[in-house]
């Protein structure tokens, strides 16, 4: 089964980190040179949305302000993703270094790591590593990293809700525009990057943009850390090249009876077996923040969807109508269809509703509920009804 093994990449976890030397080398270059390298590498945000990292840094650096911040989004809450936890556990200094490079480029004196509430157990080790890092770079840059704990709300992984939470307010997404590059934490220009993105940015500084750019496809450069779970004999964390087909992925990670793969967690897409071949993992196909959940034929896709919808119903911040009420209606709707209280055709009504949620919700949470909903209902309609 493993004859065409996917190429393993070892950038993130490779314990080659002489962070200080790399930082010294990087800091000797101009900000423009560093930004150009990041832009050149084609690195896109690894949280899932895929905004070009170099542009984010550039916009923030160019925004006039007396203060700017870099924030590491470590509120890893997407169901089925656990790779940031591993990165922070194994190579925290690479995360700190990525933040330090960003801080130099945008002129930030302070950086924050917003750590998922459930990851509190990482805190003592992280603090220790952070102390060592601060001592190590004291003479290189005037930059301090502070770790701020989240409290367990999924929505606080949304960048503007994260800012609100950090400011001591209720974690609710803001209206955009303005975007964080113009007005983020404390209404100052802010770079907010996923844990993995920051490490890649740092690795690009170390190895140069070309070695990164050689990996992946034209739309999805480089590699990515995947959290593989579900019906797989080899669940775990894998760093793989972007742009592979799901078929290849399943050949390696499936248990031989794969029915579907949920790419990108509850907010992502469900790809059925018949579409595995044509589906590319990457921004040109289905993007993912890292979550790859494999389902075999023993699984009821109704239960899978029901589980996701229960999750969204609870984790919506409740602020905007499409998301708050929409999630409840989708959940109650599929229950009603299953029980026969509503006719099967009601599913079409719900698909239209999910389209409204995608178009009209205030933030990414409500907008992405339709991803799993429509991909599961469209591909496994009979399982919803019978």
């Amino acid at each position: 089964m493993t004859k065409n093994k996917l190429k393993r990449i070892d950038l993130i976890f490779h314990e080659d980190c002489e962070c200080r030397q790399v930082l010294e080398k990087t800091f000797s270059r101009s900000n423009d040179e560093i930004i150009n390298d990041i832009l050149e590498s084609g690195l896109k945000g690894r949280g899932g949305a895929g905004f070009p990292t170099g542009l984010k840094w550039k916009f923030t650096a160019e925004q006039p302000a007396d203060e700017r911040f870099v924030i590491c989004n470590a509120d890893e809450g997407e169901p089925g993703t656990f790779k940031d936890r591993e990165i922070l556990f194994k190579v925290p200094s690479k995360v700190f270094s990525g933040m330090a490079v960003c801080a130099k480029v945008i002129g930030a004196k302070k950086g924050y790591i917003y750590l998922r509430g459930e990851y509190r157990f990482l805190l003592p080790e992280l603090q220790k590593a952070l102390g060592a890092f601060h001592r190590d770079i004291k003479d290189l840059i005037d930059f301090e990293i502070i770790i701020q704990m989240g409290s367990g709300a999924y929505i606080c992984g949304e960048e503007s809700a994260l800012f609100e939470s950090m400011e001591g307010k209720r974690g609710e997404p803001r209206n955009k525009p303005p975007y964080p590059t113009i007005s983020g934490f404390k209404d100052k220009p802010t770079v907010i990057n996923n844990v993995e993105t920051l490490v890649y940015a740092f690795m690009i500084c170390k190895h140069g943009p070309l070695s990164f750019k050689e990996l992946g496809t034209s739309d999805s450069r480089g590699s990515k850390v995947f959290s593989v779970s579900g019906d797989t004999p080899i669940a775990g964390i894998y760093e793989l090249e972007l742009g592979m087909s799901l078929e290849h992925f399943v050949e390696e990670f499936g248990d031989g009876d794969t029915k579907a793969v949920q790419v990108g967690g509850a907010a992502g897409f469900c790809v059925p077996r018949k579409k595995l071949k044509e589906t590319i993992i990457g921004f040109e196909g289905v993007p993912t923040g890292g979550s790859m959940k494999v389902f075999n034929s023993s699984r009821s896709m109704y239960n899978v969807l029901h589980n996701y919808l229960e999750f969204f119903e609870e984790e919506s911040c409740g602020q905007c109508t499409p998301c708050r009420v929409g999630c409840q209606q989708l959940l109650k709707g599929i229950e009603a269809v299953k029980k026969g209280e509503k006719k099967a055709i009601y599913l079409d009504q719900l698909l239209k509703l999910s389209e409204t949620m995608k178009l009209a919700s205030k933030c990414g949470l409500g907008q992405s509920v339709a991803n799993s909903f429509s991909s599961i209902v469209d591909n496994f309609r009979e399982e919803m009804i019978y």
């Binding site: 709300a153 929505i155 209720r170 609710e172 209206n175 525009p177 969204f312 119903e313 609870e314 984790e315 919506s316 911040c317 409740g318 602020q319 905007c320 109508t321 499409p322 708050r324 009420v325 929409g326 999630c327 409840q328 209606q329 109650k332 709707g333 009603a336 509503k342 009504q349 239209k352 509703l353 389209e355 409204t356 995608k358 178009l359 009209a360 919700s361 205030k362 907008q367």
Partner: protein, 597 residues
């Protein structure tokens, strides 16, 4: 300079200033985009999503209230995509809303209902009714405000009102997802939290989720009770707003018609809170001068300055919660409503030879906090409940409609006597700065024997919608008794809206400001913008009501409180003089500290 943004809305070119939103731009060319969470007085929330529009080139729809207009934008407000989304969103709101419209206090005054009637074409509910699945509660413990969660659409207008306009934050958002709701500290009932009962949330609630506790039926019962003598007093601000609920444009003075309506409704005596407003000036003005004398001449260290007005019950409850250490700075005067109530069952009862036990005292107020005030244990100095029922301007409008009166064609009538006489000084109590102006008109004259040195008695610097107005009055040419004030500069400040009140009090607390006299009204614009006034409210409407108030003042033959003949008479016949023993017994009180949360 604001640069001009050029964009297209539904194919029509429009130019707006930089910083304006797509919604502003649409309104500028009279394109109607429906809204729910948007309110002119509040910051933009962008959470109901009813106002979504399509911007060509953008993947998702955008909330027009929150989207800045940018050059070259091509906006569609009624495309197929927009219509489908908007209809779904309205259906979603309806599925979560307890739509018992015919039983609802806000029936035909509900913004959600309006939208539903615009967009609902089929009689069927599109989605599953969520209301029976939820554990909704109704908080009806407060004498002022009823909060019914089953009608809430989570637009958070009330939350923003309470936080931004009032800095009270009694209402906030609790829980998340399907459990998300508008609640209070530890979900305590409204009467048991920092709520000031100002009712500004009611004025901005688009549905029937927040309403005043209404006493219309109780008042009808009293009117039809043969044994009862029902007196009614009307607050200054009601007469410039009542018309809005009965077919008049904002800013129309309807004093005569209101009196006429009250008589036809069946009140035994229609009297004016203006009378006790003038009385308040006599008591409060004298109190201020007495405090100044004690501080300046007797060097009495126990005298508290600055002295703050005490007419606004929302402000009273605010200071009880937020600045209890300044309670002694409050004037000991009761509000005009409560002075009136105490006198109705003493002075009035005696003069008219009626057993006070048979008097039912009703007041018509622009205010919901007055309902709470009337219920205070402090307010029973007549030996009875001084004011039995408080109706808002809105409730009065309802009574007038129930009575089948055609308000527009009613004749104008005069208040009854006694306690029905009013001056211009009393009328302006209804607007921010009014008490200050009325007090200065009287106090200055007591001290100098001359009228205040402002043209036509109009102390314009204390008027208007600026949140905080600081005015210093130099006192010159004093009468012999008041020599100690010669050359003194009386420092005053006038603030409206509790956010501004808090700002003023923080300045006093930090020592940055050394005022002598503070006027505070809890509501934006003063009582004309009160929580019991007709809905909707916005800056334009408040300005029109204010203009009407000052018009009424200018038209009055008597414009100084101390010249009100009924006020002169009551001192001669009953009270003696301001701050007399009798006054203290009936017209003054003290308040107590309350919890911070």
């Amino acid at each position: 300079m604001a640069k001009n943004i050029k964009l297209k809305i539904d194919g029509v070119d429009v130019q707006v200033e930089d910083g304006k939103t797509v919604l502003d731009a649409a309104r500028a060319i009279n394109v109607h985009i429906p809204t729910l969470c948007y309110h002119e007085d509040l910051c933009v929330a962008g959470n109901c999503r009813v106002c979504v529009v399509e911007v060509t080139g953008a993947k998702a729809l955008v909330a027009s209230c929150a989207m800045p207009a940018t050059d070259g934008m091509d906006v569609l407000t009624n495309s197929l995509k927009v219509r489908a989304a908007r209809k779904n969103i309205i259906e979603l709101l309806l599925s979560e809303h307890n739509a018992d419209c015919t039983m609802c206090y806000k029936n035909k005054k509900c913004e959600l209902q309006d939208l539903a009637s615009e967009y609902k074409t089929s009689g069927e509910q599109l989605f599953i009714d969520l209301v029976p699945l939820k554990d909704y509660t109704i908080d009806n413990f407060s004498p002022s405000i009823i909060k019914d969660d089953s009608k809430c659409i989570r637009c958070q207008r009330c939350v923003r009102t309470c936080e931004e306009l009032q800095h009270v934050s009694a209402l906030g958002v609790a829980y998340k997802g399907d459990k998300m709701k508008i609640s209070t500290f530890f979900e305590n009932p409204m009467y048991d939290v920092v709520c000031t009962n100002c009712g500004q949330c009611i004025n901005r609630c688009p549905t029937g989720s927040l309403i005043e506790r209404n006493y219309v039926d109780e008042v009808w019962d009293a009117i039809y009770d043969e044994k009862k003598h029902v007196v009614v007093q009307t607050a200054p601000a009601t007469r410039v707003a009542l018309g809005e609920d009965l077919g008049f444009e904002a800013g129309h003075v309807v004093t005569g018609k209101m009196v006429s309506a009250l008589k036809r409704v069946g009140f035994d005596s229609v009297l004016d809170t203006d009378f006790s407003a003038d009385l308040t000036i006599m008591e409060e003005g004298t109190e201020l001068l007495t405090r100044l004398k004690k501080a300046l001449v007797d060097k009495d260290p126990t005298v508290k300055l600055p002295m703050a007005t005490s007419c606004s019950p929302g402000w009273i409850k605010f200071i009880e919660h937020t600045f209890p250490e300044y309670l002694d700075n409050l004037s000991t005067c009761k509000s005009p409503q409560q002075m009136f109530g105490a006198l109705a069952k003493t002075y009035y009862a005696k003069k008219r030879d009626i057993d006070p036990a048979d008097i039912v005292s009703v007041s018509i107020m622009p205010c919901t906090a007055k309902k709470f005030e009337a219920d205070r244990p402090e307010m029973r100095s007549s030996g009875y409940k001084d004011v039995d029922y408080v109706l808002t301007t809105r409730e009065l409008a309802r009574m007038i409609k129930q009575a089948g009166l055609d308000f527009l064609s009613l004749p104008e009538e005069n208040y009854d006597s006694i306690m029905g006489e009013s001056t211009g000084a009393a009328v302006i109590f209804g607007a921010t700065g009014g008490v200050m102006e009325a007090a200065l008109r009287t106090a200055y004259e007591i001290v100098t024997g001359r009228e205040v040195p402002f043209e036509n008695l109009n102390i314009t610097p204390v008027r208007g919608m600026d949140g905080v107005k600081e005015v210093t009055v130099k006192i010159e040419g004093t009468l012999p008794d008041w020599n100690f004030l010669e050359g003194a500069e009386l420092k005053t400040v006038t603030a409206h809206g509790l956010t501004n009140a808090k700002y003023v009090m923080e300045r006093v607390k930090s020592g940055e400001a050394d005022y002598h006299f503070i006027e505070i009204m809890a509501c934006p614009g003063g009582c004309i913008g009160g929580g019991g006034q007709p809905i909707p409210t916005n800056m334009e409407i408040r300005k029109k009501r204010t203009e009407a108030i000052y018009m009424e003042d200018t038209g009055k033959p008597i414009r100084k409180s101390h010249e009100n003949p009924e006020v002169v008479a009551i001192y001669k016949e009953f009270l003696g003089e301001p701050l007399s023993h009798k006054s203290h017994e009936l017209l003054h009180t003290h308040y107590k500290a309350r919890q911070r949360y």
